[in-house]
């Protein structure tokens, strides 16, 4: 979850939530079908609605969007990193030539299905991946799509939905179900949020993750009913819903069940009218014999939904909150289009705030995929799975139902993992200082060395101070004097070091 909106991110509330670590307990429970359902303990107190307009204000008034900026080299770099997984060599020039309008349009409204350019992903021995079966291959399989897909925004949006509807295989325990959910995210990545929410509500992985299959008319389980409002559609502590609404919504969502087979897992997910509570419920002040489809409809029709949706989505792209005119315009686009995702994302990608000089830390998997794209390397090692885990983002294993904490990507452990990712990524690209066949320059100057490193990395935008510090390093890192035999290998090392320093610099980690 992006850290933009404090009112939407109940800090600490999810930390102690046992979601995702109840695999065995869930199974036992399923087998026994206990009479008294054990309530999940949410460490949260009910807070009355604030007297000032809650953030985000559900009714920001009217407003229009400011004109889009020009797409220069810097802005093109920003666009390809935040709406995808970074540029491949040559991409920036092509995008600048295409212009902003046409580029955003092609990102937001891609035609047909995606093409994956480049060789198929493999493990270290050249074998095809087994994403449904082998540990870590699910991560690799998706990382490969991020690297190779020509529909970059579709993959990036799929990643956002994976965080928004954060489901972990820690509890689901079925990689195929996780892949199926991933396909649902991708198919609806830029379509209608209503279709997406409808599909997610009955998605088998989600039915396991938030106990939809435990939610019966005899023993209502509030897990999904609460999270669908708090994290997926409305936001906590805004006055959008009451605790009574949570209970009533949970009853509306009853009826989904599955069969457990030892050694196989859950299967045969289905709606069973006998398990559904068909009696009357009152939700958001409306009364009826609501079912799960009504639950989805009522959440989306809640007057607090559009403001939640556009501000949360904005937070994945821009580190500062939208001004009220922008928020109003985005809400209008969203509602006028019938919960359209593409119009809102398109407007964000054209907004001047998107291009402002304010950094966002790249999520670890974006960092990793971007490196591979830059180096024109495919997925050919399983190292990315454990490196991703060490860097704090193993795909299909978000830490809890509120997703990854986007304000906590970097610490001394994850930073080192990113440095290790660079070392693994340049496996074939690094210069061998001691090679007999290639002989690195014996005369390259410190300034030329920095220029060569930046050219090798397709000229990333760096801050002035970082550029100067690289120059200082380049001028001071070699011993002086050097013997003749040291001139070439030490300069080759300096070149490798400069590239590594650029790729681990704060300017490259966060931009």
């Amino acid at each position: 979850m992006p850290q933009l909106l404090p009112s939407l991110t109940p800090k600490g509330a999810k930390k102690s939530d046992p979601h995702g670590r109840r695999k065995n307990a869930a199974r036992k429970h399923h087998k026994k079908r206990k009479k008294h359902h054990k309530k999940r303990h949410h460490v949260k107190h009910h807070v009355p609605p604030p007297s000032v307009p809650p953030r985000p204000n559900p009714n920001p008034g009217g407003g229009s969007l400011p004109p889009a900026p020009d797409l220069d080299h810097r802005n093109a770099e920003r666009l390809l990193w935040r709406a995808g997984f970074g540029p491949r060599p040559g991409d920036l020039d092509a995008v600048v030539a295409t212009g902003l309008d046409a580029t955003v349009k092609s990102l937001v409204y891609p035609s047909g299905s995606a093409t994956l350019n480049g060789p198929q992903p493999t493990d270290d021995d050249g074998n095809a991946l087994a994403p449904a079966d082998a540990w870590g291959h699910d991560h690799l399989w998706w990382l490969d799509r991020m690297v190779r897909s020509d529909q970059q925004l579709v993959e990036r949006m799929t990643l956002i939905w994976h965080d928004w509807f954060a489901t972990s295989n820690d509890k689901v325990s079925d990689q195929q179900l996780m892949l199926n959910q991933n396909a649902t995210f991708r198919a609806n990545a830029l379509g209608s949020f209503k279709d997406l929410l409808t599909a997610v509500t009955t998605d088998p992985a989600m039915l396991i993750w938030l106990d939809g299959i435990e939610n019966t008319r005899w023993d209502p389980n509030e897990n999904y009913g609460r999270e669908v409002m708090e994290l997926f559609t409305l936001g906590a502590d805004r006055g959008a819903y009451t605790e009574q609404d949570v209970r009533e919504l949970a009853r509306a969502l009853t009826g989904w069940r599955a069969d457990w087979t030892d050694g196989v897992g859950y299967g045969n997910f289905r709606f069973d009218p006998d398990w559904h509570d068909a009696t009357s419920k009152t939700i958001f002040g409306q009364t009826g014999n609501f079912d799960w489809q009504d639950a989805v409809r009522l959440c989306l029709a809640n007057p607090f939904h559009a403001s939640f949706f556009v501000t949360k989505l904005w937070g994945y792209f821009v580190p500062t909150p939208p001004d009220s005119a922008t928020q109003a315009a985005l809400q209008k686009l969203y509602l006028d289009s019938g919960y359209g995702i593409a119009p809102v994302v398109g407007a964000i990608l054209r907004h001047p705030d998107f291009y402002a000089d304010r950094a966002l830390v790249k999520p670890p998997v974006v960092y990793n995929a971007g490196l591979l794209r830059l180096l024109r390397r495919g997925v050919d090692t399983t190292a990315w799975a454990w490196l991703g885990s060490q860097a704090g983002q193993q795909l299909f294993y978000p830490p809890n139902v509120s997703g990854w904490d986007y304000s906590m990507w970097l610490d001394t452990s994850t930073w080192k993992a990113r440095s290790d990712i660079v070392t693994y990524a340049v496996r074939d690209a690094a210069i061998d200082p001691w090679s007999n066949s290639t002989h690195y320059s014996t005369t390259e100057s410190p300034t030329d060395a920095v220029a060569a490193a930046l050219a090798f990395l397709s000229g990333p935008t760096l801050t002035d101070e970082t550029r100067k510090a690289l120059g200082d390093f380049s001028g001071s890192c070699l011993p002086s004097p050097m013997a003749d035999w040291e001139q070439s290998p030490y300069r080759a090392m300096r070149q490798n070091a400069l590239r590594h320093l650029v790729l681990t610099s704060s300017d490259w980690q966060a931009n």
Partner: protein, 463 residues
Amino acid sequence: MRTPRNTANCCRDFTRTELFRQASAQAGRGLPPIEPGMPAPAGTGLNRRSFLARGAGLALSVYGAQRLGFRALEEGVAAAAAAPPQPVLVSLFLPGGCDGMSVLAPVGDPAYASLRPTLKLDPSAGTAFLEDARLRWSPAAAGLSTLHGEGKITVFPAIGYDHPDQSHFTSRHFWEVGALDTTARFGWMGRYLDLAGSEANPLQGLSLNGDLSPALAASRVPVAAIEKPEDYSFWIRGVDDPVLEPTLEAFGALGNLPTSDAVRAGARQVATEVDTVRRSLAPFATSDGSPSYKSPVTYPDSDLAKKLAGLAAMLDAGLPLRCVAVDADGAFDTHSNQASGLPADLQTVCDAVLAFQRDVEARGIADRVLITMWSEFGRRPQENGSGTDHGAGGTAFVVGSRAQGQMVGEFPGLAQLDPEDNLRSTSDFRALYCALLEQWLQFDPSGVIPGAGSFSPPAVVKS
């Protein structure tokens, strides 16, 4: 990734278990979901932060206390160090299921020779075990034999629990959590620290293994692992001496650059901390591998010996340790080639323990520390040709100047085995834990060990 040694002789389950645990520890998340029903190791899911305890000169991985900033942890360590010294308990684990009959060989038992035709100890080898004429210390356990002769070891010749589980994973988990409970998520020492420890001193529960030890996993208070020096050494492809060191220093230089952007500033702050952690020396060795402290005794050359030597130095320096966990070198899952592999691994452990005891004696701190040596189970009395398979009753030892020195539970003999032909247990590991809590840590075991009241704690500590 650390892989178990001598895996060729281990059962597949043991190797796999070790790898899963490593992967899980690295991920800081749950286990790979391959083994339904396998208990998740205690502490699974606890996030890890690298923390430099400057006052202590230690680079740590801290687990828990996510709310506390590093400054609060620094202060917590300092406050705990200023308090009077506490007794320290060291849990030394022999992974894989150590063959107790190869530590204390029942050479005087009539069935021994027929059950162990190739592995049996020569009746004249090793040293006599003075508490039971049927048993002999194997030569590899000479270190323990010496300490036993000095009255510094309480021996459990057949320890275990009823209805023994012969899965490495499950039985180890039981020992780690101090209960026969596959769903328990916190270690027995971690639960003790939750009740008796500090909210801000991660050194109170210290793993010397480089990652969180499940027995130390706590729910409320922070615990820590010593960062393995190699865990925080940077490898930059194509960069070696003499360019490597300036490059690593440049991490810090780039991190120190000023910027007005808050996110960029945060990223730079982390780079600066990376440089600081990297420069700090591990307590066991400087960056060139030599110890950064002086030991008053000579230790044998092994990883465990280095860790214990560092531990003695830390205790002597007054670091506020209370529970320590360390794994022995070697793999004790000796399904095959036991005769050629086990003695060396066993001797490595016993020699290191003897050296540690001599070290703390020389430093005058021997009254403050007690080691409890254990393994998840013993091995089957009937050998399988070249090794032994998973058994039940095993051996445990409480080692230290304050150890009671009298055997707990008798050796049950080989004439009557349990229904699965394994050694019967004559003591329960939970009773041992209750005794350690009560007699050594001076803490009521009833809040720590489930069902503590049903065990009669044996005397393991001199009163």
